[in-house]
Point group: C3
Chain length 322, copies 3
């Protein structure tokens, strides 16, 4: 699958017009035209990006992007423009929603969906607005694919699976009547070529990026994938695994059944996680892990043996009278 931009504008858009839309202070090259919006690791000349954390200011401003939405007055490199606002993510969502407004869809398969040659869509499946499905796919019954999601070639999606559900992502304040307020989610789900997804899975769309299932990855039934999570190529994910938001699985990762993976972490290439493990932090690739909380599988296995030895130790120290 070729590189997929986060958002390509239908035609280049005046950066002044965008600055007005989001009520931004525009500095630098104020006569430019933006060609699209992109994630920082994908940006090209002409792209618009946003950054709201000082840690990423430099990286973002010196990336290939031409236009940067930012919450700080900063030195502008030649030919670029900054759009200064208090809340870059809100501004970013406003632009995305302007170009991808909510459109109701009252048909099973939206007229704006594009379905490739040789793909078969079973009945009772919903395919939303602007969805693109590649060639030779099988989309089983009772599947839901929400607006703007992209499915590659040779993909199988089994019954009851949901692609592009809204992110579990809230602004939380406990001094108001309603503690949790839904935050916008501007991203999509992208399923690359040769991916197979089991029955009853749910894959949330991205908040600020796209959620991506990498080429050749195979998923069993009832797997949950959170927003903005990216899996590499050739991952193998067994049934009932849950992966929270903004996780990276590098290529060739194997997760056995009922594993849980916490948010914003990375599991390295070819790592194997045994069933029912709970992953709470980054894991180095090339190793095998087990337990909740997860450990190197050999260490965890030894630990299980050590626990069995407590009675012997007790008897030695305390005597028989326990």
């Amino acid at each position: 699958m070729l590189k997929i931009n986060f958002m390509q504008f239908p035609s280049p858009v005046s950066i002044q017009w965008i600055a007005e839309l989001i009520d931004a202070k525009l500095i630098g090259n104020s006569n430019g035209f933006a060609t699209g919006i992109n994630e920082i690791h994908k940006v090209e000349k002409g792209d618009l990006v946003f950054v709201d954390h000082p840690k990423y200011y430099d990286k973002c401003i010196h990336s290939a992007a031409s236009f940067i939405i930012i919450n700080k007055d900063y030195e502008v490199p030649d030919g670029k423009a900054l759009l200064i606002v208090d809340h870059p993510f809100d501004a970013y969502c406003k632009i995305v929603n302007h170009f991808r407004p909510f459109e109701p869809c009252s048909k099973n398969i939206s007229d704006s969906a594009i379905i490739g040659e040789g793909s078969f869509i079973y009945p009772n499946t919903f395919i939303g607005n602007h969805v693109r499905i590649g060639k030779n796919c099988i989309i089983h019954p009772n599947v839901t694919i929400m607006d703007h999601c992209i499915i590659g070639d040779q993909v199988i999606i089994q019954p009851g699976t949901v692609i592009g559900s809204s992110a579990f992502y809230y602004n939380s304040k406990k001094d108001r009547e309603l503690w949790y307020k839904k935050m916008p989610d501007c991203g999509r789900v992208i399923i690359e070529d040769f991916v197979e997804i089991g029955a009853g899975c749910t894959i949330d769309r991205g908040v600020s990026h796209d959620t991506i299932i990498g080429k050749g990855t195979k998923m069993d039934n009832m797997i949950h994938i959170g927003h903005d999570t990216v899996t590499g190529k050739n991952c193998l994910i067994a049934a009932q695994v849950g992966i929270a938001g903004v996780v990276t699985l590098e290529d060739g990762v194997t997760l056995w059944g009922q594993v849980g993976v916490s948010k914003t972490l990375t599991i390295g290439e070819n790592a194997v996680i045994y069933a029912q493990s709970g992953v709470g932090g980054d894991l180095e690739g090339g190793k095998t892990y087990f337990g909740s909380p997860v450990q190197d599988a050999r260490i965890k296995t030894k630990e299980l043996v050590w626990v069995k030895r407590i009675p012997e130790l007790w008897e030695k120290v305390m005597g028989k009278s326990h």
Copy 2:
């Protein structure tokens, strides 16, 4: 959301007629008219309730309820009536089913369903008989809402979710060919205002009460909620959590991913349960818990450290030769 009665009769019903319907011995005020059926914590004058456990006899008879289905001859307070039967729950179900008989529904959206202004129902969704959906809700594709369930205002239900599935509730006898016999479930599911429910969730209807999701509670994907379970306001429930039947989550409870909660227990206000924990008994509010079986999170964390120290202890006691 206003108080929702368990069942309001279309017009007041003669208690004599009810006594005949369920073959009960009627004592006390036999000329009364019942206005509805209610749960014990909601009853008002005119209501009918049932009680079958001696522990609750007094509470029930001295509640605001006017009519009590009971399995014991008991002193009747002035103006009230007792309906004495061997099996109060069966009698109760018989009345409920009389007023809410099974009605097949062969349309996607039943003609008797009521959908509030500003609510959008996606295609491929089933909405059963007598369902009420409030204002400004979004019900996504491939959702199922079974008969009599009530959805408040500003509710979002994501794709593939099931509201009002039948309870997992059986009479069990191992000396017959079929060990498990389905018990009736007379309750509904009530989703209060501003609740958001993720994709692929299942919420069972109540057996003797209603299953209730409290105002402002947010649920991630693939969460299972058992029959008669009640969550408070502003609870936050992460993906793949399973909650058995007759559980109470008080206000502001947070359950992280893949937590399991056993039946008939209470988790106190603002308690936080870490991912993959297993809750087997009541938990006090205001604390943080972890583990399977669950413990106070600080105690569990220390325990994990203690286990790591066994080898050192072993070496000290047994010497190096293990």
Copy 3:
């Protein structure tokens, strides 16, 4: 439910024709006619079976089966024939697929599906080609039943459940671009009489056999059952349990919520597994188990107490200064 053959041919098929279809060397009774294909524990005279592991050669050849697809030249008993090929499973799938070719289905309920008297099918449910549903069943909305599956009498299938999804079964080679290649799955799902299946479950079809849910078994919501798994009669399976492929649950097994069961193992009659346990090997019947990895529940319970005693032990050995 009567014995259900894996595959009965429409009329007896010349074994020479079959040998040609799968390009096999035919030895022994080359003039016979096969009446069907069966699993080794169900075979009768006239049946065709396959065997590819030396461990099962003898059992297979001396079974009631008349025709054996095998990957070794072997002595043929009188009246039988061997069909020798390099890859018996592939040959077997070729025959199955010849008689059960993929047929697209563009209607909610296939014209070739047979639905028994008194069964009610809710809207938005998909019922595939050649599905058979018995009498007095209730199939709720948004259910998917894929081709060739068989549902007995008095079965309840709750909303959103998937019967007959494709197996999670791959040929794995890490020296090619796509590591995992889908293997054929030739089996079906058979749901016996009086089974009740909750909402949001997924039951994969068999690879070389049928996946079977035994008579009177009751399943709660969101349960995953892998390919070729067979449950006995009167099993009770709570919500969010996951069972991998080729597992045998004997009669009367109880699995509490969120239990995980690894592949190709057997859980003995009347065993009880507590919630969140992880089963990695065979378990003897009549006992109660707990833990991940699972142990006899009494041993696990004692172990939990032993862990609590480490600090006391430490203090005794090391003194207070930890």
